[in-house]
């Protein structure tokens, strides 16, 4: 599904990713953990094609294609989805319009007919249940005036509509109370398929109680310093990150 090799990237001339290698197969859930500033959000955004980052080396192959050569919209149409840490407000565009535009862009790219507004509303009705929302949310402008929790839920709603093959959740748990966290996690779990994969970027182990990872990777200083199973997350919860970053320092 996804093969990342020796990926390096900079932002404003500063090197943030310093050689990431990671392999994700269909059906798997990978957690990327690490202290603040370790580069884990950068990795998520580079995969989505964020223009603020420049890839300086390495390769990313997604479903046999060179992901780094693809425009952000083409990545999305090909099934890559980034749930933003800070979802963007778009006043003046309703959620319904935005979602339909995104959904139809994907259909058009796949050579399918666009869905008309009425049929799309039927589809939405199903998706809304997943995040336990009523239809009134659809006439609100995208994320405008949404609470932190509403914004995260809206990300999951978008994910439900777009049904990605590779979902990347960037700090989706931050700013969520426990009830919202459960709704979001259940949403993500129910969207998992045998042919899809999930990358969960998080600082805390909390979310991983609900979205159980197959692999846990610890990022520090722009590199993966340790990988393991789900028990690694618990160890990190107990011991913090310091012991790992010290190891990293010793190696470097």
């Amino acid at each position: 599904m996804l093969e990342i090799k020796n990926l390096t990237a900079t932002a404003g001339g500063t090197e943030i990713l310093r050689g990431i290698t990671l392999s994700v197969k269909a059906g798997e859930v990978h957690a990327i953990m690490g202290p603040n500033g370790s580069g884990k959000s950068t990795l998520a955004q580079v995969l989505a094609g964020h223009p603020a980052y420049e890839v300086t080396g390495g390769s990313v192959i997604y479903q046999g294609q060179d992901l780094l050569e693809m425009e952000p919209e083409v990545r999305a149409q090909a099934g890559v989805f980034l749930a933003f840490q800070y979802p963007v407000e778009i006043p003046g565009v309703t959620n319904a319009y935005f979602l339909r535009a995104a959904y139809n862009a994907k259909r058009t790219a796949a050579g399918l007919e666009e869905l008309d507004p009425m049929d799309f509303l039927d589809l939405l009705e199903e998706k809304l249940k997943l995040v336990e929302w009523g239809p009134e949310i659809m006439s609100r402008a995208v994320n405008a005036g949404f609470s932190g929790g509403e914004k995260k839920r809206n990300e999951i709603l978008q994910m439900a509509v777009l049904e990605p093959s590779l979902a990347i959740l960037d700090e989706t748990d931050s700013g969520l109370d426990i009830d919202a966290l459960k709704i979001v996690a259940e949403g993500v779990n129910s969207l998992r398929r045998a042919d899809s994969a999930t990358i969960v970027v998080t600082h805390y182990q909390r979310l991983l109680n609900h979205i159980v990872p197959d692999f846990v990777h610890v990022l520090a200083g722009g590199r993966i310093v340790k990988s393991g199973g789900k028990e690694l997350a618990l160890e990190l919860e107990a011991r913090g990150y310091e012991w790992l970053t010290e190891v990293e320092g010793a190696v470097a």
Binding site: G49, E73, R75, A76, V88, A102, A141
Partner: protein, 443 residues
């Protein structure tokens, strides 16, 4: 002034009362004395009217007969809306429709009212539009106007639907200058809504110089929406001057999309306590279009409020100008005023001059103003693209979103829908035109 002078002999009509003839004489003298303003005049610093002088347009002639099919493309809303149609300044009774109006209302062509009930408008016509900034063009209008619309409502009368006034410039007729003159008088608690559309039937150099005076008695409400979509060769000058008594409400909207060169003046005086004015506008310019708005809100009484939002989208070599003046006189305590002008530049070559202006002579007031000029933000653009929306479509969507909220301030839904459609069409053709070097996004 080396440009050819436009001949402006006052044109008195035999049926007009003496005070109108006097207004025409004064107007002609004012125009002769001042000529068109130049860029040395602070109120006209960014707008050069010399192309109008150079065009030396004579009065537009009466065009051939117009038919329903000619105006059909410019109609919108509901068939039952009262409608007045003017072609090159002449009233077209066969295309107009004045039904569904309340008892005691006088709605129709100004010339007709001047002929049979001039007393109704003597206190308003020529009495409000006396501001120095616009005096030359208002003077020229007074000397040369042939007709326009009049809406006179007695106290308590309500017109539920918008009155659509369609000004058609038919450039197939020779000449080219049209000076519509309009009057709105609302009695106490009367309610009226007027939508003025300025359109062109055939391409050609033409000038519209329209003046509307509106007097709102206590508690009256007036919705005024001006839609300017004249041809790319047209010159368009417009002045709306309103006087508001106690607790009256003016909701003004100016939509400007057409003309090579346009200047719209929206002026109101809050003359009675508790009066409220909301001034909104949206201007779109591309190619080498020049679009200028000047607004002036005069707070002359206590406890009045004014809100103003103007937005502009400029593409190609388009040039937008906004000057919003808010004056708060010493007696206007407890004034609450807010003014905003936001501009979106779609190309490197588009340009905006914006000048919010606040002059406060009272001490207990709350007034703010602000202006922005920028390009599309990088982050929303990436957000749209990360959801699969192609870049060009995302740009169109975000540009539309930038302006859409201000259109929502128009009270009549069909008018909002119509203008949303015009804007979408404009954005789509802007996308197809290719707009030269796109501006880099602000990050």
């Amino acid at each position: 002034m080396t440009a050819t002078r436009t001949p402006v002999a006052p044109s008195p009509r035999p049926t007009e009362p003496g005070w109108v003839a006097e207004l025409r004489r004064e107007g002609a003298a004012q125009f002769e004395g001042l000529r068109l303003p130049t860029t040395r005049d602070e109120d006209w610093r960014f707008t050069d009217l010399s192309p109008i002088s150079k065009a030396a347009l004579g009065p537009a002639r009466v065009p051939g007969a117009l038919h329903d099919a000619d105006i059909a493309p410019f109609l919108f809303g509901h068939a039952e809306w009262p409608r007045l149609v003017f072609a090159n300044g002449r009233y077209q009774p066969s295309l107009s429709k004045l039904t569904g109006l309340p008892a005691g209302a006088r709605v129709g062509p100004l010339a007709e009212l001047l002929a049979d009930a001039p007393g109704l408008i003597e206190g308003t016509l020529g009495k409000l539009a006396v501001q120095p900034a616009a005096s030359a063009i208002v003077g020229q209008n007074a000397s040369a106007f042939v007709d326009g619309y009049a809406v006179v409502l007695p106290a308590g009368a309500t017109v539920d639907t918008p009155i659509h006034v369609l000004f058609v410039a038919d450039s197939r007729a020779p000449g080219g200058a049209v000076h519509p003159r309009n009057v709105v008088i609302l009695g106490a608690n009367a309610v009226a809504s007027v939508v003025e559309s300025f359109v062109t039937l055939a391409e050609g150099v033409a000038l519209t110089n329209t003046v509307t005076e509106a007097s709102l008695a206590a508690g009256a409400r007036f919705d005024h929406c001006k839609i300017q979509r004249e041809s790319a060769q047209a010159f368009h000058l417009a002045t709306l001057e309103v006087r508001q008594e106690r607790d009256s409400y003016l909701n003004s909207f100016s939509f400007a999309q057409g003309a090579a060169l346009s200047r719209t003046n929206i002026y109101t005086t809050l003359a009675g306590p508790g009066a409220h004015a909301t001034l909104y506008g949206l201007y779109l310019a591309e190619g080498r279009q020049h679009v200028d708005h000047q607004t002036r809100i005069e707070h002359a009484a206590p406890d009045c409020t004014s809100w103003e939002v103007y937005k502009g989208i400029l593409d190609g070599h388009g040039h937008g100008v906004f000057n919003g003046k808010v004056y708060v006189q010493p007696e206007a305590q407890k004034t609450d005023g807010k003014q905003t002008n936001k501009n979106l530049l779609l190309s490197e070559t588009a340009k905006v001059d914006t000048k919010p202006q606040l002059e406060i002579f009272a001490d207990d007031v709350k007034c703010t103003h602000g202006a922005t000029v920028g390009s599309l933000d990088a982050l929303p653009l990436f957000y749209c693209r990360s959801r699969g929306i192609p870049e060009a479509e995302a740009r169109t969507l975000l540009t539309y979103a930038f302006a859409a909220d201000v259109l929502e301030e128009i009270r009549s839904r069909p008018v909002v829908d119509y203008l949303e459609g015009l804007m979408r069409e404009w954005l789509l053709t802007a996308g197809k035109r290719g707009r030269g070097p796109a501006r880099k996004e602000a990050s």
